[in-house]
Subunit: 508 residues, 2 copies
């Protein structure tokens, strides 16, 4: 469908054209890295780990050197003065500048120390979590946090934004914690009472019948492949494989998604594949003309998550889609009976529970897990809280937001790899994504009646056409906010997400 | 068994240490390339081809830039004057210099023009071969040859060697066409009459019984995996996959071999796997201390081919190994009867025929195919022959050396990709490898009686220990000639290869 266009249409010999040539090379090195990372997770034998680590570290250095080459600042300054750039070129230059500022903001030794601290903290975290050993993690986590605070302070001063926002902007360009505070406060005021009402309603409704049986991986794969095809995943430009943690990797012209097959539980595995397919469709739909340029990349982690949640949560857990899915699933496993009815499958796919673990959470309680983490990491980065106080604050937040208290840190503040892994400022993108998904889906369904009609029949072509025109094909041309306004008529409005939850969980 | 040691023990701040750091980075980029090439052949969806081509081209440019950086010549000159290098470091420096000289010998535009001519000539060759269209290939092959001649002339002048040797040295460092002429003339004088005697003997002996049946890929794979394990292939550091053309790729700590499974013919597929396993054992046995340095790489293509042929031809087609193999093969396919006896399998695996196609040739006639190509490409490079005369010269050479004349160019001078692909000077390494394999195997068996005893029982550990000590673990420390003298007591002696052929095909 798409062709990779690699010709540079910019005026030859302009500073801008020189920048395009340099970024083309940079992105191709990063794309190579993406394939090697997929290989590591999906097919690499264990003994290849050390040498793969060396390869990836080297390509990272090569890419970093390209982005921090001394001539780059001068080229950017000169390109800024070139008046013959079109909108895409100007947006591309803006994104080049953004990347360059992030890459050159920090002294090399700080980047190096943080990278080492993160590697060693992840190694400590892996056994510390099952051993419930927060104290054991504390020294290396403190090292990471100290360095992250240093990064935040430097970038805050250089970029003229707050310290949290300086970190957030790496994952969510243009993101603002003042805005997130407002959105999340509104959700936090809504969710606890809403959750209680949903749980009441569920308790009064029919019980969910469990899906008994064994679900051979090959049959799960065959069903998943069929549904991926229905969504529009092009197997001439991508693969589905297995890995320990599901992810979407590879490159836009060769998107590699992975999943796990749990032979005792097909339901969660399938939704996992559909989630990753949403990510994959975004990557695949990015503008081919700008394949190896910053403006051709996905806009940010919030919008990326919106695309996976739009497919998984908005479309595939909807009642009409579950009607389509139920007979396919029963046939795939040669199953029958009331547990395999659309009614029961829908109850299963929209089940709400007060749980301890974010990755297992349902659509209603998930935002509360995120709000808790966002508030805690913001306090930690801004120095309003210290790490020894984390377990107590975590448990208090769980009680307030979700209504359960973890019996231990293993299922509490030790559960996520993000902080040991150095990904501070990442968490809010999950819930920004959930709200964005609701808003985009609402607009899409309103724009074209063929979209909800299609989903009812397993035909995603109308939905994907709308997403390609309004989201995927835009790359990083617009800010996330402007993209959302152009696509839906307004900036992010949590009321649409709340309305979606009310309709699905109370009115449905 | 091995660990990747990446510390540099050279004196810090020395020019030599700076070179090690640079070559480490270069080799890691090349290793990344190796994994991407495996991916392309083994698992990549078709639609990923264009973007993969862009990635590989970029990594090639990145590596080339590293090797031609202006500072490198100066660092090499300074390191040459450093007196505290040990033997490995000095050999490493010698190999660095060799690579640098090859990389900097040619003007960038010639490299570029050759690369483009090769790409387009390969595209013309693919359909031209089945269409038997030598005339159609001629213009683009002439373009390639003209540029190859230019390369040969420049390197010849700069390196002070003949034009053919200048090309040969890229595949066979230190190789000499004067020496090859002598070796190949001796073989060419021996083989035609020898082949006639072998064919006579075969005609008088029992007929080879064909192996009827269908051989499911999974069972072939299971048998191949078992035998790879017996040879010592470590699946924690490697994989076996399928691809259109069998090859050995990946990197020493993660060796990826591929094969094709022909469900109508298990015999050739199995020997293909054992051949690639020989290549893999060489890569895996290279000295880990020098993993990312020139001295840590395989010595040359001749020695590489010797390792695959040592496993396949010397060990696995030997009568004692076939005794071990026969019951395993019968059991793998649930087969029985006289066709599956060791006698018959051995006759099958040592069958000699006057054939037209090099890649299908047996051990006895293969060298004649190579000698023909070597003589022709040498004449073409040295300007003693022109391309329009190739078909006639090819057919005359076939008649003289093998005793058959191709009915058309498709099964004649169009059959190999090497010349369209720019690999001029490569062909002799196949037969240098075959002779070297015979000589190394002869020395190994003489050095340790456990080696032939082990092969009889499917135990390759003694053989691999000897190869690791005498060949694999040496990397590029010694010249091929010195390595052979150290391991076997003398330089390459075609008499040993001839003796092997006599014993197997006339006396056996």
């Amino acid at each position: 469908m798409h062709e990779t266009v690699s010709t540079v249409t910019a005026r030859p010999n302009s500073a801008y054209a020189a920048l395009e040539a340099r970024f083309r090379r940079l992105y191709l090195v990063r794309d190579a890295t993406g394939v090697l990372q997929w290989d590591m997770a999906a097919v690499m034998p264990d003994g290849g780990a050390a040498t793969r680590g060396d390869q990836l570290a080297t390509l990272k250095v090569v890419a970093h050197d390209m982005l921090t080459a001394p001539e780059l600042g001068d080229l950017i300054a000169r390109a800024d003065g070139e008046t013959d750039l079109d909108d895409w070129q100007r947006a591309n230059l803006r994104e080049m500048k953004r990347e360059w500022r992030h890459a050159t903001a920090l002294p090399a030794d700080l980047v190096e120390r943080l990278s080492q601290a993160v590697s060693s903290c992840e190694m400590v975290w892996r056994p510390a979590r099952p051993k419930n050993d927060f104290k054991g993690l504390l020294p290396s986590l403190r090292q990471v946090l100290d360095l992250v605070r240093e990064v935040a302070a430097i970038k805050s001063a250089k970029f003229g934004v707050g310290r949290y926002d300086a970190l957030l902007s790496e994952y969510e360009p243009g993101g603002s914690s003042a805005e997130i505070d407002r959105l999340f406060d509104e959700l936090a005021a809504f969710l606890p009472e809403f959750t209680a009402r949903v749980l009441d309603k569920q308790a009064q409704g029919p019980a969910v019948l469990p899906l008994h049986g064994s679900f051979p991986a090959e049959r799960q794969r065959s069903l998943a492949t069929k549904l991926m095809g229905a969504i529009g995943f092009d197997f001439a430009h991508g693969r589905l494989d297995t890995s320990h943690h599901p992810f979407c990797g590879g490159v836009p012209d060769d998107v590699r998604i992975t999943t796990r097959w749990d032979e005792g539980d097909f339901a969660s595995g399938l939704m996992g594949v559909l989630h990753e397919t949403g990510h994959a469709m975004y990557e695949r739909g990015l503008p081919p003309r700008w394949r190896y340029q910053p403006v051709g990349q996905a806009r940010g982690m919030g919008l990326h998550e919106s695309q996976s949640l739009l497919v998984e949560m908005q479309a595939c857990r909807s009642r009409p889609f579950v009607e389509y899915l139920a007979p396919l699933a029963a046939a795939a496993f040669g199953a029958a009976g009331p547990a395999w009815s659309a009614d029961n499958l829908y109850r299963l796919y929209t089940r709400v529970e007060r749980g301890l673990i974010r990755v297992d959470a349902d659509e209603v309680t998930y935002p509360s897990h995120v709000i808790l983490r966002y508030r805690l990491e913001k306090a930690l980065i801004e120095g309003r809280m210290e790490l020894p106080d984390l377990p107590t604050a975590w448990n208090a937040g769980m009680k307030e937001l979700i209504g359960v208290v973890p019996p231990d840190d293993k299922d509490g503040c030790l559960q996520d790899i993000h902080w040991p892994g150095g990904a501070w400022g990442y968490f809010p993108t999950y819930t920004l994504g959930a709200m964005t998904a609701a808003q985009l889906f609402d607009a899409a369904a309103g724009a074209d009646a063929a979209i909800p009609d299609g989903i009812r029949r397993g035909d995603f072509a109308p939905l994907m056409a709308w997403l390609r025109a309004n989201v995927h094909g835009k790359g990083s041309l617009l800010s996330t906010r402007d993209l959302l306004v152009a696509a839906t008529g307004k900036p992010l409005d949590p009321e649409i997400f709340k309305r979606h939850l009310r309709r699905r969980y109370l009115d449905g």
